[in-house]
């Protein structure tokens, strides 16, 4: 089997899909809120990879600019999310999402 000289676009997309799926499974399977956050980061990065691959395919830089904005939103989201997790830990002494049931009547 000989490798193609140029990596096809579909390989990047497939890698992106695999990465996104791993993120989804992580969110569904784990119950540690911090690991769930890391899985969300994986999904964001899968979307970024698709953006960059399409930007290269279309010879356009707009996709890369969007990745820049996605990274900004991810940074803001992590800061707020970790602050919430720290606060919940102070209140409930746990980071397991199935033990956090403050909204349950």
């Amino acid at each position: 089997m000989s490798l193609p000289a140029v990596v096809p676009l579909s390989w990047y997309l497939l890698l992106s899909a695999v990465l996104f799926t791993i993120g989804v499974v992580g969110v569904l399977v784990r119950r540690n809120a911090l690991v769930i956050f890391m899985s969300i980061e994986l999904m964001l990065n899968a979307a970024n990879l698709a953006f960059v691959a399409f930007a290269r395919d279309l010879q356009s830089l707009d996709g890369q600019v969007f990745v820049f904005f996605v990274m900004t939103v991810a940074a803001a989201e992590v800061a707020i999310g970790l602050a919430i997790i720290v606060n919940v830990f102070r209140l409930k002494e746990t980071v397991y999402v199935d033990e956090i049931n403050l909204l349950k009547g």
């Binding site: 490798l3 193609p4 000289a5 140029v6 990596v7 096809p8 676009l9 579909s10 990047y12 997309l13 497939l14 890698l15 899909a17 990465l19 996104f20 799926t21 791993i22 989804v24 499974v25 992580g26 569904l28 119950r31 540690n32 911090l34 690991v35 956050f37 890391m38 899985s39 980061e41 994986l42 990065n45 990879l49 960059v52 930007a55 290269r56 395919d57 010879q59 830089l61 890369q64 600019v65 990745v67 820049f68 904005f69 990274m71 900004t72 939103v73 991810a74 940074a75 803001a76 992590v78 800061a79 707020i80 970790l82 602050a83 919430i84 997790i85 606060n87 102070r90 980071v95 199935d98």
Partner: protein, 177 residues
């Protein structure tokens, strides 16, 4: 040829590290594997000729965001996760089932729309990627870029406000009233 080999190596590293992130019981180990996954993703960005994003990926993601993660994990002093009980088995079954379904759906869709073998065209010779991104960011995307600063300010203020919370009421200094 060498590009394809590098892509395959980085992709294998990326998928392996991502799997370790969701499979390992120790949150610190998960975070460190996530750093490695982000670094290999930066390598793939380099193969896609997005040097600026590769650098930002390493600096912002592998640097800043993961340091924040590790800091919080150590601050909370977490032990290894305990995973037991019937609901956990059920959740694991459902989680992997949905994941497999999603992957098959994505593969079928991609295979139909972008069939294997479609090759990326050779990129046009350009000036530095960073300069080009700067040009477009400060012209066409100037307004979203400025909005980004508002977003970051909101994130900073929100994080500080949430963490201070009601735990430590601020006592005004003497005589300020």
């Amino acid at each position: 040829m060498i590009t394809t080999a590098l892509f395959l190596a980085f992709a294998a590293l990326l998928v392996g590290c991502s799997l370790m992130v969701i499979l390992h019981r120790n949150p610190v180990t998960s975070a460190l594997f996530l750093v490695l996954a982000f670094c290999s993703l930066a390598g793939i960005y380099l193969l896609l000729q997005a040097e600026f994003l590769a650098m930002v990926q390493v600096i912002v993601y592998a640097g800043a965001i993961m340091v924040l993660f590790l800091f919080v994990i150590m601050y909370l002093n977490l032990k290894r996760d305990v995973e037991d009980g019937m609901p956990h088995v059920l959740r694991r079954f459902v989680g992997w089932g949905i994941g497999a379904l999603l992957l098959i759906e994505g593969a079928v869709y991609f295979g139909r729309r972008w069939a294997l073998g479609a090759t990326l065209p050779e990129p046009a010779p350009t000036v530095g990627n960073t300069a080009a991104i700067g040009q477009i960011l400060y012209s066409r995307y100037l307004f979203p870029f400025e909005i980004t600063s508002v977003l970051l300010i909101v994130a900073i203020l929100g994080a500080v406000r949430i963490v201070r919370g009601r735990v430590a009421p601020v006592t005004p200094p003497e005589g300020s009233s």
